[in-house]
Symmetry: C2
Subunit: 388 residues, 2 copies
């Protein structure tokens, strides 16, 4: 374990079929005025909205609604929320939806009482939060981002084309998250498997960096194995409770800081994915899937021992008679086979990208210096070409 | 993931060499009057006591000392603490030591303001805590029990020969734990490796039960692999920081409730170990080591798929050409080889037990109904005989 570590995660998880019954007790001491934040309204079709409203009413809460939080929550939408909170003296933000809704709720919780410009202060300049913050709770309806148990938030300002992520402190972590795997059954198959790869990518971004033999990497391997096993079941039967519940739990622990503790992390695949997303508007998880194999093949030699370990521990590749390179390649082949089995996008072209787009995508990629190999713009272009 | 799960763990971890520098800030808002709880005084020899007193003084705390907490903290000692807290209006309990000191601090925190008899109410009758509780923080100097990040506490009443464990709620979990791996360097080798097996046993007790394919089991496998790898290094060089830090982190996560979430658990080995301890007064981890292999061989057939999985995922046993029984046995043989490599006690006789003791030990074993096989008293006797 490298360096000085502070681990703190106060989010309380209510998990399992029927977990919504904990919402009332969880809101007991949080004040009367609840801001109910949600997205495009799918929760009205599947009955979750009605169930939540009933609970809020039974608990004598005053509810103000803030619907329409979009897939990439915008600064304009954040300003709407800030106005609402200040006009109506909100006590608690209840986010119902996927990662974007949770992200939005946290940004709003941090920003509502900020006396300066919160976008400039907390996102552009990444300054510490020094104002009072609102408490947040989540009811999760989509799996993948892990936003329900971390302090991360990504907001997009369309007026300047800036999409900025912020990792706040523990005071912005949700007070609780209700995780009912059956709430995710109605997510369309394409979104579901995109979410699966988002989880895998979160784990790999933390795993493929560093040279130490870290307990966090062993935990990461466990999560990857659980995800691989259960996702194969879930794509065939999306209502397999055991599979979906194991995946939901895995997603939360993949990005609640635990498996990144005491180790270096990469996150270059996410940088490439974001740039792909900006040009193609494709689903986040699929952008990651489309570029991951070429990226990992590109950096494999530079991080060979970790790729050998990945092959052996995650995919049970038999090393007998193989060179390290062959073992590592066999591991990436196994990753590829799994991706193909569960129906992931394997090529940028499937997301609508054309050869003419590649330069623009490359221009949008932020080059980090975390992973086994520090990419140049030319490296990015060659990875994108290999992804077509 | 089985059933309804509530996961909540508010303990903040300050981890790494030099982590004690966080103690001052962590005590900022907890009041002035600190009860400093510790054990036999080893912290005075290795300098930890002086470092802590300096920090408490710099932060203007009034310190009252409660030394002499023993390996199995007693009810009489608990009563001493209750008197101290009530006489001196303590604001915060700072536990410095290993699991026993942490256990004691939590029992005291729950009991101090209890108007009835806390032993009867919270241990014998296991009733909910309904009085105010004191906040607790830990500075850990020994690794193994995981008490620094859970709500467990074991207290012994010598007047009735009752040793009772209690798992409190999250309000009794330590507010923070300072985990500096270098603080554990001076622990004698025998105690160190006993602690290693205590960790392994905590994981196996949670792992070897249930038939579902649970994410928690994948995490457990990761922790076991980290422990096996790093313990082999640590026994050769107890000052290998990477090994000791990975083990310290593993110990905390082995018993902070995470890997038991959504699954059945066993804990019969601990029941047998406690009974061995009562007769031999041997070190806890060694009592577990002495009986584990015979126990797991005894229940192997009843839980064969999990033992096969254990062999493959933890020990990388090649299944080619083997029956499931042969794979499972090879896994237990690998466990045995590891135990022997790191110098663990493998036989009850090494702990001073004689054939004449076995009946008395068997009489003291609480028979649970959790694991793959529900033991009879005769089963226990045969396991004990095989352990000699």
């Amino acid at each position: 374990m490298l360096g000085q570590i502070t681990y703190a995660n106060p989010t309380k998880l209510y998990f399992g079929e029927g977990a919504l019954k904990n919402l009332g007790p969880a809101l007991q001491n949080v004040g009367k005025k609840i801001l109910l934040v949600y997205g495009g309204g799918s929760i009205k079709k599947n009955g979750i909205y009605d169930s939540i409203c009933k609970i809020l009413k039974e608990n004598n809460k005053d509810v103000l609604e803030l619907p329409g939080v979009m897939a990439n929550p915008t600064l304009a939408k954040l300003h709407d929320g800030i106005k609402l909170v200040n006009t109506h003296k909100i006590d608690f933000i209840l986010a119902v939806g996927g990662g974007s809704v949770c992200d939005y709720a946290k940004a709003l919780a941090a920003s509502a009482y900020c006396k300066e410009d919160p976008w400039d202060k907390y996102f552009v300049k990444q300054l510490p939060v020094d104002n009072a913050v609102l408490p947040v709770g989540c009811v999760l309806t989509m799996v993948g981002t892990g936003s329900e148990m971390n302090a991360g938030s990504v907001i997009t300002d369309h007026s300047t084309d800036m999409k900025i992520g912020r990792i706040f402190g523990e005071e912005l972590m949700p007070k609780f998250a209700v995780l009912d795997p059956t709430f995710t059954y109605t997510v369309p198959q394409y979104q579901m498997i995109a979410g699966f790869f988002d989880i895998m990518s979160h784990i790999m971004e933390q795993y493929f960096s560093g040279t130490d033999d870290n307990t966090s990497d062993y935990l990461a391997e466990g999560l990857m194995r659980s995800l691989v096993h259960n996702s194969r079941i879930a794509v065939k039967n999306p209502k397999d409770y055991e599979a979906r519940s194991n995946i939901m739990w895995t997603a939360t622990w993949a990005l609640n800081t635990l498996i990144g503790m005491g180790k270096e992390q990469d996150w270059e695949v996410h940088m490439i994915g974001h740039a792909v997303s900006a040009i193609t508007n494709a689903t986040h998880g699929m952008t990651l899937a489309s570029v991951s194999l070429p990226y990992y093949h590109f950096i494999m030699d530079a991080g060979l021992p970790k790729f050998v370990r990945f092959a052996k521990n995650v995919w049970h590749i038999d090393p007998t008679g193989k060179t390290d390179e062959e073992i590592a390649k066999a591991g990436l082949d196994a990753l590829k086979a799994w991706m193909s089995d569960i129906g992931l996008v394997m090529h940028l072209s499937e997301l609508g990208a054309t050869p003419e787009n590649l330069d623009a995508i490359a221009d949008g990629v932020i080059l980090l210096e975390n992973g086994y190999k520090h990419l140049t713009r030319e490296d990015v272009v060659s990875i994108l070409k290999a992804s077509m």
